[in-house]
Structures are given as C-alpha cells and as structure tokens.
C-alpha cells in the first residue's frame, strides 16, 4: 500500500514515553496505523516493543503522549478500553484454557459459558464461517489441550476476529511455528487486511517482515529510530537499523592476543525446546582478548552460555580448558577452573532476591572461602561483602539489606565484584549491561576491558551491535547454533554482520549445521 493513498487512520500514537526508574522503555514514539495496513514493529529484546503494546492495552500508563483509536483518545490505564474499541492481541504465550473446547475458549470473556442466551450451535456456525473466510482451519469442538501450537495460535486469532477486532496485534507470532504454519499464517493475514483489518506484526525475523508488511517501524532503546516503506528497504538495512549502526570510534584499543585459554572443537549440544543448541561449533577464547558474540537472541547463545557456566556439557565434540579436557563439568568445576560467569538474568539466576548482600556475595565461594568443615564464617563473609561494596561502588545502605532492593546496575556491580575478586582468567559476560543506565553500562564495560588488559579471555554475548563493536577485539556472529568466521576489530561493517545475523553467509562459507538437515 502506498503511503499517499488516503486510508483511514485507525490507530495513532503520539509522543508516547514510558520510564521505569532510570530506564526509558519508550521515548517519544509516534506513528499512525491505517486500515488495511500491516506495520512490522522491529526491534531487539528490550527495545520497547512489548512496553508499547502494554501501553496500548492499558496495562501500563504512559508518562507522556497519547493513544488514539479510530479518532477517539484511549483513556489511560483501562485494560478493557482497547479490547472494546476493537483491538485484538495474540500473545506470544497463549492465553487459552487447555481443558475447554475451542469454541468455549473463543466465547470465554465475551459471554458466560453458562449464560442461557448462549447458543453453542450459532457460536460454532459463526466460528466455522470465520475460519473458512480467513483460512484458519480448526475444529470448534476440539479440546485446546490436544491442539498443536499452530492450531492454538489460530484459535487465538479466531478469538480476536470473533470479537470483531479491527486491529490485530501479533507478538512474535512465528516464533513457535514451523515454516509451513508460518506460511499459512501469512495467508490469513493477507485475507484479514483485504477485508479491512489493520495489523501490527511484532518480530525480529527479517525475512518475514519483508514478506508480510507494508511499513516497518524500527525501535531501538525505546526510540523510534526509523520508519521505512517495506518496498524501499532491504534486510541488511533493517538489520543494521535494528541493532544500531552508528559505529563510534573504538574507545578500547586492541591488544595482541595470547594463547587460547578455552577452546571448543566441533561442539554440539542438544536443542532446548525452541532454542537451538550448538551445531558443531569451533571457538577459541584467547588470553587478553575480548571475543564478541553477536546475534539475534535465541540462536544458541543460551546453549553456549550454559556450556561455559558448567550447567550443560557437550553432547559431541571437545572442550579444552587451559589445554586439557575437564574430567568433570559442573558450575563448581567451572568456577574452580577460573571461569567468571555473569549470567544473562541477574534477578533469577545471578542473585537470590531475598538474600542480603553478604549472602549473595558469597554464593559461589561460601564452600571454599567462607566456611571450614561446614561452619560458616559470617564475619569474614560480611567483611568481604563490605569490601566488594567499596571496591565496586555498589550503592546501598549496607551489606545487610536484601539484594532485591538494589537497582539493576548495583546488583550487576555486586555480581561483577563477586566473580572478578576470584581473579578469573576466563570471563563469560552474557548480556552484562541489558537494562542498565548509561553510568552502570560504562562501569561494567571498563571493568571488562581492565580484566582483558590483565590477561583474561572475555566472551561478551550481546544483542547490541554497538556494544559488540566497541568492546570486542574479535567478533563472531551466532545464528541457529552456528558460528560465523571471526572478524577482527575494525574489519567488520554492520551491514555485513547484519547479513550474518539474518542467517546468510553460512552456506556460502561452507558452514552447514551439523543437524540431520545438513546436506
């Protein structure tokens, strides 16, 4: 659809801003959605897509700005208003009752299932009619618990259509679908826009965005950084826009690398649900070098991180630490072998929320350094926590408060201090600055650079290309569990990395996945 065509504006966002403490989730976001149009909302995890949709649905109240639906301003903080105005949302995680039939799920929330006015026969007839019109093949009498993931998604879409939704929001709809199911979904969407619906399609899969949308809106760090008509852009440009193409001059100088401290040779790990495992991965982490791992999330970063953390072991291939293959492999042996681990989720994995700072500070070393024969040495532990607070500038009232009261940045500083005090020679930093304010970001980065200069091998996993390009001495891109060749500092262009991130290049370089579909 050309933008010059005068179609009705169904949704208008103006200057929407939302802050959580120091973090700005959305900053001055404005755009219009027209009747019969598909807008792709593109952005990395944490770019602010979900927050924006939650504002639209009244879950959050915007700090500034307005939302208009069909020309009528949406009252803030009223969850039903958007639904009543004709917005239907298909969440990434379905909200269906497994023990009810398809038609019951669809009616749920519109009518009481036991209401005398409810006529199942008519409801089912209408569902059959809708499912025929929109190519959403599903049996109204089937139990939801017995449906495949693709079928459940169809039920969710039917649910929205049944309520006469005129705007359909799909949050990462293809994340759970097979390519065939995704194709069927697109057919449905084409039918929907032909009959006048408007669609917001949230995704970070570039080829889908290219094939289904009319316009692409790119969010980064909460800001709308670009708006493109789909037929005037290409995947490479979008990838670069999404992850941040401004390449600032490297502030951290390259240094000559040392010997590899950790090597992976043809290492594979099993897939974990929808997240791919590693596919015959080769990787060297060298002393005095920051290795950046770029990639769209959910492409094997979790598997690599779990592997180095000691949570999983290679199913195939060989892992060498300091030139030898570790005999046993667990979080404890990983720590004992000098691996510092900064986990991706500092709230759930890195700390225990209701433990105080002292108890969190010794989480990894209580057995070796803060106890003797099973007796805790609490004075020593507390002194250690106090020294961490001082050395790593953890802003807090003291070591006796529960860590849940700390800001993300201070929490991360404590984790950083906890692992760096062990003088590690390998550092795994998984999304170390996600959600942090700029001061904490710079602090964490400078600590990683210092550790590198001391001779540590650092693996930096990040979805933020700016961060990768600024810090890394060498960069790999990970895509579906496969690793691109290494790019030395300064030799990589964002477009090129974007293309690898989009999954191109692996075949032409003769890298094929080790799975059953390898030719």
């Amino acid at each position: 659809m050309s933008t010059t065509q005068k179609a009705q504006v169904v949704l208008r966002l103006q200057g929407v801003t939302k802050r959580f403490g120091p973090v700005t989730a959305n900053e001055n976001v404005s755009f219009d959605l027209h009747r019969g149009e598909v807008i792709a909302l593109l952005g990395e995890n944490g770019a602010g897509k979900t927050t924006l949709m939650n504002i639209l649905f009244g879950q959050y109240t915007a700090d500034a700005g307005s939302v208009e639906l069909f020309g009528v301003p949406l009252p803030p903080g009223a969850p039903r208003a958007a639904l009543d105005a004709g917005v239907g949302m298909v969440h990434q995680h379905f909200t269906l009752a497994d023990n009810l039939a398809v038609w019951e799920n669809i009616v749920l929330g519109v009518d009481h299932l036991t209401a005398p006015s409810l006529k199942p026969r008519e409801v089912k007839a209408r569902i059959r009619d809708l499912s025929q019109r929109f190519h959403l093949k599903v049996d109204p009498d089937a139990r939801v618990g017995q449906l495949t993931v693709g079928e459940r998604q169809r039920v969710e879409i039917l649910k929205a259509l049944y309520r006469d939704a005129r705007i359909l929001i799909l949050d990462e709809p293809t994340a759970v679908l097979t390519p065939q199911e995704a194709e069927a979904l697109f057919a449905t969407l084409r039918e929907a826009i032909a009959s006048g619906l408007a669609v917001i399609f949230i995704s970070h899969k570039l080829h889908e965005v290219m094939s289904i949308s009319h316009r692409v809106i790119v969010l980064r760090h909460g800001k709308l950084v670009a708006e493109r008509a789909t037929d005037t852009t290409n995947r490479e440009e979008l990838a670069a826009l999404m992850v941040g193409a401004e390449v600032s001059a490297p502030t951290i100088a390259a240094s000559p690398p040392g010997a590899p401290l950790l090597s992976l040779r043809a290492v594979s790990t099993p897939d974990q649900g929808a997240a791919p495992g590693l596919k015959a991965l080769d990787l060297d982490l060298c002393a005095g070098q920051i290795t950046g791992l770029a990639g769209v999330s959910g492409n094997g970063q979790a598997a690599l991180s779990d592997l180095l953390s000691g949570l999983i072991r290679p199913a195939n291939g060989e892992m060498q630490l300091h030139g030898t293959t570790p005999h046993r492999w667990s979080p404890r042996t990983a720590i004992a072998n000098g691996i510092a681990r900064i986990p991706e989720d500092r709230h759930k994995t890195g700390t225990i929320a209701d433990f105080d700072l002292t108890e969190n500070a010794i989480l990894e070393t209580y057995a070796t350094r803060f106890s003797r024969r099973g007796w805790m040495n609490w004075p020593k532990a507390r002194a250690f926590a106090e020294s961490l607070i001082k050395t790593y500038d953890v802003r807090c009232p003291g070591p006796d408060i529960r860590i849940r009261l700390l800001s993300g940045g201070n929490m991360q500083k404590l984790i950083l201090g906890r692992v760096l005090e062990e003088a590690p020679d390998i550092i795994l930093a998984n999304q170390p600055v996600r959600g942090l304010d700029i001061g904490a970001v710079n602090y964490v980065h400078s600590m990683l650079a210092q550790a590198r200069d001391r001779g540590a091998a650092v693996l930096l996993i990040s979805e933020d290309l700016d961060e990768i390009m600024r810090l890394s001495d060498v960069t790999h891109v990970i895509s579906e569990g496969r690793l691109s060749p290494a790019f030395a500092r300064g030799t990589m262009r964002p477009e090129e990395l974007g293309s690898w991130m989009a999954g191109h290049g692996f075949d032409s370089h003769g890298i094929t996945p080790g799975g059953p579909d390898a030719a």
Partner: protein
C-alpha cells in the same frame, strides 16, 4: 483499590502475622463459646487455667507440646528448603515402630546402649521414609506433596498390620497393641514423681540444634538458598539435589524422633492411635512459627495449651472441647491470611 507488594517489611511487620493470627483465633473462639452458651471470658480463662493453672496442668502442656516441637521442626526444616513434607505423621510412626522393635529387646542389646540406639534408629526410620519421596522428586519430578501425604495412609495401615501380627503383644488380651518397652528403653522423667519426661528436653535441644544449623552452617545456608531460588543456587554451584536429600533426611529424622519420644517417654508401647495427627498439626506449628526453629517451640506450646486447656475447660464450662480443633484450624487460616496481608498493603487509586 489494589494490593501492592511491600518491598522491605519492617521487623514489627514481620512479627505481626502470628500476633494477628492468634488474636483473630481468640476472637473466633470467643464467638463460638458464646454460641455454645458459655461466657467467652470465662471460657478463655478456663482454657488458660487448664493449660497453665497448676503444676500438673503446666507439665501436661509441656508433655503435649513435645511431639509437636519435633514434628513442627521437621516441617519447618523441610518447608524452608521448599520440600513440602506432609508425611511427618508416617515418619513419626516409623520412628515409633523402630523404637518398639529395639526397645522390647528384639536384638538383645546391652542395656546402656538401648536408649540411644532406639533414638538413632527412630531417626533413621523417619529419614528413610522421606528419602523415597525426595528421590522421586529429584530424579523424576514427582510431586512430594502427593507422595508424602498418601504414604501416611499406607504406613498407618502397615502399622495396624504390625500390631495385629508380628508386633502384637502376646500378653495383650487380643488388643492391637505392642509389648511394653523394657525399662532400660524408657526415657526417664525429668523430676521423679512428675509426668514430664526427658523427651521435652530433647525437643528443646533439637530446636537449638536446628537453629544453629540454620544460622551457622553451610548446610543451613544451602537449604535456604535452594528454598529461595533453586535456579540461582544451581547456577552458583550449590549441589541442589544433594541439599534436598539432606533436608529430607533431617526432616524425616526429626519426625522419627517424635515417635521415639512418645513411645519411650510417654506411652511405653505402640498402639495405632499413638498420634492424633501430630504430623499434620506440625504444619500448623511450623507455619505459626514462620518456620523459625525457636518459634516452633513457642508455637507448639500455644497449640498444646489450647488442646490441654480446652479439655479441662469443657469439663468445667460444658462447651465442647472440639473448640480446640476449630481454634487450631482458624489459627492456620488466619496465619496464611496474615502473612499475605503483611506482605502487601492496600492502596487506593
């Protein structure tokens, strides 16, 4: 209006749940006493007097509190690590069975060894009984609430079988009852001539030991870490499975000691009504104590006082003694509610 979580409750706020729960329980008991035709103040006074009013009453209360301290500790230890042990009842009986088997002289052990061995065997029996469900939980992900709860019924039937069969007292005139323990296998009384036995002292020591384990040892730290956030504990290298199994052994062992203490200290033989549900009441005790081992002692005394006091109150005031059961049940309900309320505050939008 909506509920908003409180980030850091003050010390006063954390102490509030048991206080609120006990006050609300007393209120409910007063109302019910009125319904039953009694004067609420008189009824409550009689309960207090019946529980603490004389030396005899006080010692009776302490005796009744003894098994509740053990089972309360067993539950508190397990719940802290989020191991939901509902099977303290069966573990108690397992301890009692082993005490009877050894204490009636089945192995011909020397007299001076008999008492400590009975205690150790009772602990082991209780521990083994919880180890099974714990292994099923860690290996196969089987819900321990279901397994421990259902095992109570199985084990109680097994005890009935033992009392009708292998353990039946040949001199028992046909009653389903075990033979009496040898005198050397009996816990002596603390003061000669008064009913209070050394089991009570043992229970106090157990509470102290658990308190020390919780606050001073790596195991206490590990159990708390696993209970609060098993994912973070595993990531940090805490052996989560092993900690859960150790917790199970400790918890089951404490419940087993309750059985030992009841048989060896109080009853002298085993019948199938040895425990009127001490294993379940232990859950109330542990919850009222907010899972704190020293709090368990206080909570057990409170619960025991209600039962002992209500018995004598009902004789004097004619209000049925099952008022005690209602008080216990409402104390648990109010406790759960009060914990919730002190975690949140009501906020008007």
């Amino acid at each position: 209006m909506r509920l908003e979580p409180i980030a850091s409750p003050s010390a006063a706020r954390r102490i509030m749940p048991p206080v609120l729960a006990i006050l609300a329980t007393v209120l409910v008991a007063s109302l019910l006493a009125m319904v039953a035709g009694g004067n609420p103040f008189a009824v409550l006074g009689l309960i207090l007097k019946g529980a603490f009013g004389s030396k005899f009453a006080l010692l009776e209360t302490l005796n009744s509190a003894t098994p509740l301290i053990f089972t309360g500790l067993a539950i508190a230890v397990a719940f802290r690590a989020k191991l939901w042990n509902i099977g303290a009842e069966a573990q108690l009986y397992a301890g009692a069975v082993l005490t009877v088997v050894l204490g009636t002289g089945a192995l011909g052990l020397p007299a001076y060894l008999l008492l400590p061995l009975c205690a150790v065997a009772a602990m082991l029996a209780g521990a083994m009984l919880l180890l099974g469900p714990a292994l099923l939980k860690t290996r196969l992900g089987v819900d321990e609430v279901v397994t421990t709860l259902l095992f109570n019924f199985i084990f109680l039937l097994f005890v009935s079988y033992l009392l009708e069969g292998p353990l039946k007292d040949p001199m028992g005139m046909g009653w389903p009852k075990s033979a009496r323990l040898l005198p050397e296998a009996r816990l002596p009384r603390i003061v000669e001539g008064l009913r209070l036995h050394w089991g009570f002292a043992l229970a106090l020591i157990a509470a102290l030991v658990i308190w020390v384990i919780n606050t001073r040892t790596t195991l206490g730290y590990e159990m708390r870490a696993v209970g609060q956030n098993a994912q973070a504990a595993a990531f940090a290298g805490i052996p989560v499975t092993r900690v859960i199994l150790k917790t199970a052994l400790l918890s089951g062992g404490l419940a087993g000691l309750a059985g030992f203490s009841e048989v060896s200290g109080l009853k002298g033989s085993l019948t199938s009504d040895l425990s009127p549900g001490f294993g379940y009441t232990g859950i109330v005790v542990a919850m009222l104590a907010l899972l704190h081992p020293l709090g368990v002692v206080l909570a057990a005394l409170f619960v025991a006082a209600i039962f002992v006091g209500a018995d004598s109150m009902s004789r004097a005031a004619g209000v049925p003694s099952y008022l005690a059961d209602i008080m216990l049940a409402s104390a648990l309900l109010f406790m759960v509610l009060a914990i919730l309320l002190t975690k949140f505050r009501l906020r008007r939008d």
